[in-house]
């Protein structure tokens, strides 16, 4: 189970805490022989929660030097790793177990991995899971903490065995005494231990990469068995005894606000236990004995809404128009560059799109009675801290709030701020019983925030020598980060660009002149982070345009890219590496029959660079993607099998955006609100996707998002290479 149940720590919590020289928090548990070790990251904002939890129990020093983000809990039953980062399918719990196992000298399957739980004092801020950073940010802290835990166990084992610690080796959670048959299991060391744990005199050396037995191997996923047995608990599955089902009214159009509400026929409908109306809070909902009865009753409420917007998708997309904006790059003389050579101009568009995670939003809440009653929620969220803030805003800053994170059935950015905990808690508080709220697919797609539309105008020139003289790029996108960050609009306007829109925005090539103007739009429909933020829409424009420049230069698209990548920069060398690998995998130089073609594209994000070749077939009268070859340089690969799934999954999501997805908005509401009207890619249209990891390195970079970047451009370039038209807007319609 990766889902940590609520409750107290084993025994009655750590009996005593002290801070070590290396700023690890070590607590000798009240449970005999147990040990808790927390590893710090240099993030201060997690401190108060942990300090309060420890002081409340009278267990700790008044001063906590660092937040404790990763916890090893050692008992006679084994070692548990509490991972602060949240599992939504990325496989990070498995990868981080491998990292810990390496230094602990155990097999990953000898660790129990659980989601760190705020109910046990883990700092909320550390749990925010975003931006493909989990493995990269925890790789070294977990190794260092695990190495210290291992050294402490070794010192204690040596004492119990009456030997020198230097004579011990360890494998599979057992110490072996060199030159003898004697051995001692970790669990026995922990069980037989008394008195304080002794720390090593100095930070233990980390294992050299050449000796890795766990990092770099494809370990089985730690959560797959529970998921296959129906035991894994997602947000939609959260249950407590005595629970009812809730539903709440949602606006019929974007921007509409609740003006008045009355129970109407809802109160008398079968199974309805409570109608809850709070117009000042914009809230009207029902509690019933079954989910479908709650859904039926909420539809019977008498509600009046303000009009809201009546905008449609075409209008929204037109509102995002590249033009004047903030100048983000001004290299060389663009006027001079575009006054010579062959001029190429093109504009590209991407539409509104949904995350369409298969588990719709859901939350369970149990609010204790009375104005001071504890508010406890179980929520599938990437950010339990924002859920906590929302609950405090709704119920008062003084209320005790506990947010438990469940497994997430997909997210892709959507479950960053997840407000259903608040609505479930409102219903629970009013009904005096725990209430679960789960959205229908229709509500989930209508009430989301979306990947914003983008528009990019490109203008470039190519000289007779086949080299790019200069590029002028004007980009526009709906808000991404600003749409969800709590900055006032004047500040956002002053900054002028959205930080999320910067991902994938810059051409990585050597250009004598480059001018980049960017513009943000605040749209009347909610927009926000979608896997990779600006990466995929921006890369679609840039890497399509690179091919248009290559065509104007009469050059091979691969050779053209390689000729414009700098060898003096690390990024240039790494992009060159992945481009050449992907081309080799796809047999770039071998000709294809008429109607078929290959396209190449590349991008970089969160320290990872990616190139891919897509192969398409237009001969059947429709666009079929027949294969994708992907080369990724993400630094050190902790779990090749897991990283490959992330890469293939990113390609499939990218292909879905390339071939299928456009959110339809009419009269201020989403009309493509289920998979019949908002189709996503199916198995039958998924080509073979080959993945190679190149580069390597000492530490890992992100793998959650980067591979989605080049997909649409690679396909559009392949369509052109197959003799099809140059397609400049998503989804591609040849």
């Amino acid at each position: 189970m990766t889902d940590a149940p609520a409750g107290d720590p084993p025994g009655s919590g750590p009996g005593r805490w002290r801070v070590t020289r290396r700023r690890l928090l070590i607590g000798a548990g009240a449970t005999f022989g147990s040990l808790l070790v927390g590893a710090p990251l240099a993030i201060e904002y997690g401190r108060p929660t942990l300090a309060e939890w420890m002081l409340e129990r009278g267990t700790g020093p008044a001063e906590i030097p660092e937040s404790s983000l990763v916890w090893f809990e050692l008992t006679g039953a084994g070692i548990t790793l509490h991972v602060p980062k949240i599992e939504m399918g990325q496989g990070i719990h498995t990868a981080l177990a491998q990292v810990a196992a390496e230094e602990l000298r155990v097999r990953p399957d000898q660790l129990t991995v659980v989601q760190a739980d705020a109910g046990r004092g883990f700092p909320l801020a550390a749990m925010f899971t975003f931006g493909s950073t989990s493995v990269a940010s925890l790789y070294t802290p977990i190794r260092e903490a695990a190495a210290t835990v291992h050294a402490m166990l070794a010192i204690e084992a040596a004492r119990q065995l009456g030997v020198d610690p230097a004579s011990l080796t360890a494998v599979d959670a057992r110490f072996l005494v060199t030159g003898t048959q004697r051995q001692l299991a970790y669990t026995d060391v922990i069980s037989a231990h008394t008195g304080p744990w002794q720390e090593p005199a100095e930070q233990p050396a980390l294992r050299p990469a050449g000796e890795f037995t766990s990092i770099g191997s494809s370990a089985p996923r730690v959560d797959i068995r529970a998921k296959l047995l129906g035991e894994a608990v997602y947000g939609y599955d959260a249950r407590v005894p005595g629970m009812s089902y809730g539903a709440f009214a949602v606006p019929p159009r974007f921007g509409a606000e609740l003006l008045s509400a009355a129970p109407g026929d809802a109160a008398g409908m079968p199974g309805v236990q409570q109608v809850v109306i709070d117009v000042p809070a914009g809230f009207a909902g029902v509690v019933a004995d079954t989910r479908t009865r709650a859904w039926a009753a909420v539809a019977a409420l008498q509600l009046r809404w303000s009009e809201g917007t009546r905008v449609g998708d075409r209008e929204l997309e037109q509102q995002v128009t590249a033009g004047a904006g903030v100048v983000l790059r001004r290299d060389g003389s663009i006027r001079g560059a575009l006054g010579q050579g062959r001029i190429v101009e093109a504009e590209y568009r991407t539409p509104l799109a949904a995350h369409a995670h298969l588990e719709p939003l859901a939350a369970l809440a149990a609010v204790e009675p009375g104005p001071a009653g504890k508010v406890e929620v179980w929520v599938p969220t990437q950010s339990p801290e924002s859920v906590t803030k929302d609950l405090h805003a709704a119920f008062g800053e003084d209320r005790a709030v506990v947010v438990h994170v469940t497994l997430l059935g997909g997210s892709f950015g959507r479950k960053g701020g997840q407000h259903l905990g608040v609505e479930a808690a409102r219903l629970s508080a009013a009904a005096g019983r725990p209430v679960h709220v789960g959205w229908t697919r229709e509500t989930d797609l209508r009430q989301a925030f979306y990947r914003p539309p983008t528009h990019t105008r490109m203008r470039g020139s190519v000289g007779p020598d086949g080299r790019i003289r200069g590029v002028e790029q004007r980009s526009a996108a709906g808000d991404i980060i600003w749409a969800v960050a709590g900055l006032p609009e004047p500040v956002r306007s002053l900054i002028g660009f959205d930080p999320g829109g910067l991902l994938g925005l810059f051409l990585p090539y050597d250009l004598p002149a480059y001018r980049l103007v960017n513009r943000r739009e605040q749209l009347p429909v909610p927009t926000g982070p979608w896997r990779g933020l600006g990466l995929m829409p921006n890369t679609f424009a840039l890497e399509s345009f690179l091919d248009e420049l290559a065509e104007a230069a009469g050059a091979d698209p691969l050779a053209f890219r390689l000729a414009h990548l700098s060898d003096s920069s690390d990024d240039g060398r790494r992009l060159r590496g992945v481009l050449q690998t992907a081309a080799r995998m796809a047999r770039w130089d071998e000709p294809l029959p008429a109607g078929r073609g290959r396209g190449i594209a590349c991008s970089g994000d969160v320290g990872t660079v990616v190139a891919m070749v897509a192969e398409v077939d237009l001969s059947g009268g429709r666009l079929r993607v027949t294969g994708v070859d992907v080369a990724v340089d993400c630094g050190l690969v902790v779990n090749p099998a897991g990283a490959k799934l992330q890469a293939q999954g990113s390609v499939v999501m990218g292909l879905s955006s390339t071939l299928c997805e456009r959110l339809r908005v009419h009269d201020g509401q989403v009309v493509s609100d289920n998979f019949d009207t908002y189709p996503i890619l199916e198995m039958a249209d998924t080509p073979p996707i080959r993945v190679a990891f190149v580069g390597g390195g000492q530490t890992p970079h992100g793998m959650g998002e980067p591979v989605v970047g080049p997909v649409p451009a690679a396909v559009a370039n392949a369509v052109r290479a197959a003799g099809g038209p140059r397609l400049r807007s998503l989804p591609l319609r040849p």
Binding site: L228, R239, L358, P360, E682, M683
Partner: protein, 156 residues
């Protein structure tokens, strides 16, 4: 009414509700997932008399006395607490998916497919899985898992 699920008789209160909610909310069999409510995503797939059906598309009453198998009913559970995975489950341990919300539908679809076609080719696997969606994009892994399950099922 009575409902036969995973070889056990259950008493069900809300026979007029879609089967997916009766299984999940009344019987606590959360391995059947809701995804769309219109039979378009396959997450709620269960076996009804051995055939894959979308449990959001029929009520418990419409099931009648036909046996229902959910994800929870596949593994063999010994009296001593040992759990022996079904070959299809074992194949998915070796070829895991990511978030796992769609996983039960793919597993049960594969169980039904292999019962009538012990050696399906790729096209047959994709046809059986239409439309079982996977937003994490594990379609190639699913194909590999079903092919592996066919292999495991043939092993003595």
């Amino acid at each position: 009414m009575r409902l036969l699920v995973n070889g056990r008789q259950h008493t069900v209160e809300h026979a007029d509700e879609p089967l997916v909610w009766v299984l999940r909310d009344e019987l606590g069999l959360i391995g059947t997932r809701y995804g769309c409510g219109i039979g378009a995503c396959g997450c709620c797939t269960v076996l009804l008399a051995g055939e894959p059906v979308r449990s959001c598309q029929l009520t418990a009453a419409e099931v009648g006395d036909r046996p229902v198998v959910t994800l929870e009913g596949l593994a063999e559970r010994g009296a001593d607490g040992t759990v022996t995975l079904h070959p299809v489950q074992q194949a998915f341990v070796e070829n895991p998916l990511q978030c796992g919300w769609c996983l039960p539908g793919h597993v049960l679809t594969a169980v039904a497919l292999l019962a009538r076609d012990p050696d399906p080719d790729e096209a047959a696997i994709a046809e059986a899985a239409r439309p079982n969606l996977c937003r994490c994009g594990g379609y190639n892994t699913i194909k590999a898992a079903v092919a592996r399950a066919a292999e495991l099922a043939r092993e003595p």
